[in-house]
């Protein structure tokens, strides 16, 4: 690791720890730092319930953020598309539509089944968006991909609300989840999702070599002995695992996968060997901070993490487009 990258890693680690502690302390009822330990370990402590709920959402936020940031980074790397993000490319929308259909149409309520359905939806949306964009005259350019993603998101959103209007009960459980939130979920959710996230993260980190080769373009990558089609398939599987699980756990959250890789690349350089691990940390930091700030911004209500991230991410996306670097990565 270069000096800059290792310095960034240390800073991100410190910030992640501080953000986690803040996430445990801050909320509609603040916990005193001194009483935190007893609240977490001693079940009879009056604050134990709050501390446990906060611990759950802190872990969930960190896991989801890390997964989405890594998914964004490998997606941007393999397609050389700076606008790639599971949210923008319609992957999260695919996962959530599949879940709504499963909930309303088949009465599925088991979380393990949710995750599987989310994978299916995410994978189909990924394939659909890329197939449509690739069919265009100019091929799958970043711009056509982003527009296809927006179109697929639009049609899926319209289909999702049709299903919700048909089924009031599903709407009640879904409308809070649809925003992208980490609150009100207990740890059992994360234990079901964790194995999938772990596989996705390992697979993502194994992509380092192939991503560095892909950065040189398809022809050079082939010259270096890579099988481009197989590489893309590996990345697609990792992205589906990461984004599908994250969506199943916390709802569709856009822009984490867009923002974090760009910020890390700007600070530590484009090599994937440093980029991917730093994205894991950076994604966790972003969602933790967004979730914590969202709790105190408009009391007594909470602003969900998905909304917070979009409020930061939208302007960042605009900046990225305005800089005109829509092709070069």
């Amino acid at each position: 690791m270069t000096g800059r990258a290792s310095r960034l890693a240390i800073v991100l680690l410190v910030v992640a720890v501080v953000a986690s502690v803040c996430s445990l302390l801050i909320g509609s009822r603040w916990l005193a730092p001194a009483s935190l330990w007893s609240a977490l370990t001693d079940g009879s402590d009056p604050s134990a319930g709050i501390a446990q709920a906060r611990l759950d959402r802190t872990l969930l936020a960190a896991a989801v953020g890390a997964a989405l940031a890594l998914a964004g980074a490998i997606l941007q790397g393999v397609t050389r598309n700076p606008l790639a993000d599971p949210g923008i490319l319609g992957i999260n929308a695919g996962a959530s539509f599949a879940m709504v259909v499963a909930m309303a149409g088949f009465g599925i309520s088991d979380l393990g089944a949710y995750v599987a359905v989310a994978f299916l939806g995410a994978g189909l949306a990924l394939i659909l968006v890329h197939a449509v964009a690739a069919a265009g005259r100019d091929g799958a350019t970043p711009t056509t991909l982003a527009i296809c993603g927006a179109a697929v998101t639009a049609v899926l959103a319209s289909a999702t609300s049709a299903v919700l209007l048909l089924d009031r009960q599903t709407m009640e459980s879904f409308r809070f989840w649809q925003v992208g939130t980490v609150s009100g979920r207990d740890l059992s959710v994360l234990t079901i999702g964790a194995p999938f996230l772990a596989v996705g993260i390992v697979l993502g980190l194994l992509c380092i070599r192939l991503l560095d080769a892909a950065a040189l373009g398809d022809d050079l990558a082939r010259g270096l002995g890579r099988r481009v089609g197989r590489d893309r398939a590996v990345v697609a599987v990792a992205v589906v695992l990461l984004a599908g699980t994250a969506t199943a756990l916390a709802g569709p959250i856009a822009f984490v996968g867009l923002l974090v890789p760009h910020a890390v690349r700007a600070l530590a350089g484009p090599g994937h060997r440093t980029l991917l691990p730093l994205c894991l940390l950076g994604g966790a930091v972003l969602t933790l901070l967004a979730d914590t700030v969202g709790r105190v911004l408009l009391p007594p209500a909470e602003i969900q993490v998905g909304v917070m991230v979009a409020l930061i991410g939208g302007p960042a996306f605009v900046m990225l487009v305005r800089r005109g670097r829509t092709v070069a990565l």
Binding site: L83, G87, I88, V132, A133, A135, G136, R137, D138, T143, T144, A146, I147, C148, A150, A151, V152, A154, V155, A157, S158, A159, S161, A162, L164, L165, L166, R168, M171, E172, R175, F176, Q178, V179, A254, F255, A301, I303, Q304, G306, V307, A310, L311, G313, G314, P315, F317, V318, V321, R322, G324, T326
Partner: protein, 347 residues
């Protein structure tokens, strides 16, 4: 003096016949669309789960009282058909004006976030301020204008893909705001808000329709008065300036289009993809010429027909018209991208 039939040069004859062919094609298209719109309108008010014969419908509208039929026609079928026409015309006009002046088929108000801006402002008014009626219209227009000005300032004169991408970014922020507001309403209002967010003509009263037409008709009139600019704007900035139309005249037309989109959104919610679809469909029918009348008629046909399908496709369930237009519009958008028809004016 003997009358001499002037013999024309063959080239002049060729030009004249070509021009006549275009004019004839446009006239056919507009006549045909008018007929289709009338047919769709009549289907909307007479067909469905409760059939009303046409003579009965005429009698009811002229004041006769037929138990049952009167109520259904006057309180449900007719207002929806009338409002659908109005909203379709407004969105069709707004879309065609955007696409023509920006010279980009993707740059319609619904894709660059103008209608989402209007609905975010309107939902804010409904949910947080507890308002209704004219206040919502004003807020929606303000939201639409705000987003339009923001996107435009950010795009910095690049009307191609950059504008579209910026619109997508702004739309994402707007829909995050809407989603947040959506979680703040109670269970009863949630269905209403969701219906409205889908773009819906149900639950609309005559007063709201009256307000919409009172506000929209002057705007449409102003557009008709200014519409000549459009034919020059279509040629690009340089030619337009050379032909003596200043940038202000185009801006005024765009502002009118934004206001129209905002008004339509205030009364019916963001009916997806009507503004985007009306322009290209009408151009295909008129043989490549942008005619605002044709775009407006296409918009009206799409909305009234979509509302009819949504109301009666699934038995008792009243699907918002926006879900139907979204289901038609998104594949059309994808097809447009896939066939590479959007490369015009890219950059």
């Amino acid at each position: 003096m003997s009358t001499v039939t002037p013999t024309l040069e063959p080239s002049i004859v060729a030009v004249r016949s070509a021009r006549r062919r275009v004019a004839r094609r446009t006239a056919y298209a507009i006549t045909g669309l008018t007929v289709v719109w009338i047919a769709v309108f009549l289907v909307r008010i007479t067909q469905g789960d409760y059939l009303i014969s046409l003579p009965d419908a005429v009698r009811i509208i002229r004041g006769a009282e037929i138990p049952g039929a009167s109520y259904i026609l006057m309180e449900s079928k007719l207002p929806r058909a009338v409002l659908g026409t109005g909203v379709g015309v407004a969105l069709g006009l707004a879309g065609a004006i955007f696409q023509t002046t920006l010279r980009n088929e993707l740059a319609s108000p619904d894709i660059v976030g103008v209608t989402l801006g209007a609905s975010a402002a309107a939902v804010f008014g409904i949910v947080v301020l507890g308002q209704g009626g004219p206040v919502i219209s004003a807020l929606a227009v303000a939201g639409a204008l705000g987003v339009a000005l923001t996107v435009r300032a950010l795009a910095d004169g690049h009307n191609g893909y950059r504008l579209v991408l910026l619109g997508i970014g702004i739309s994402a922020v707007m829909s995050a705001v809407i989603q947040y507001l959506f979680t703040r309403v109670d269970e009863f209002n949630a269905t209403t808000v969701l219906q409205w967010l889908g773009g819906s003509l149900s639950n609309v009263e005559w007063r709201a329709i009256g307000l919409f037409f009172a506000l929209a008709v002057p705007v449409v009139g102003a557009i008709a008065w200014r519409s000549k600019v459009l034919r020059v704007a279509e040629l690009g900035d340089d030619l337009r300036a050379g032909l003596g139309a200043g940038p202000g005249s185009v801006d005024a037309l765009m502002a009118l289009a934004v206001i129209l989109a905002g008004l339509a959104t205030a009364v019916a919610g963001p009916v997806a993809f009507v503004a985007f679809l009306a322009g290209p469909i009408s151009r295909a029918l008129t043989g490549g010429r942008t005619r605002l009348v044709a775009a407006a008629l296409v918009g009206a046909v799409i909305v009234v027909l979509g509302d009819h399908i949504g109301a009666y496709l699934l038995g008792d369930i009243n699907l918002p018209v926006g879900i139907i237009t979204g289901a038609i519009g998104a594949p059309a958008l994808i097809w447009l991208i896939a066939t590479g028809r959007t490369t015009r004016g890219s950059r």
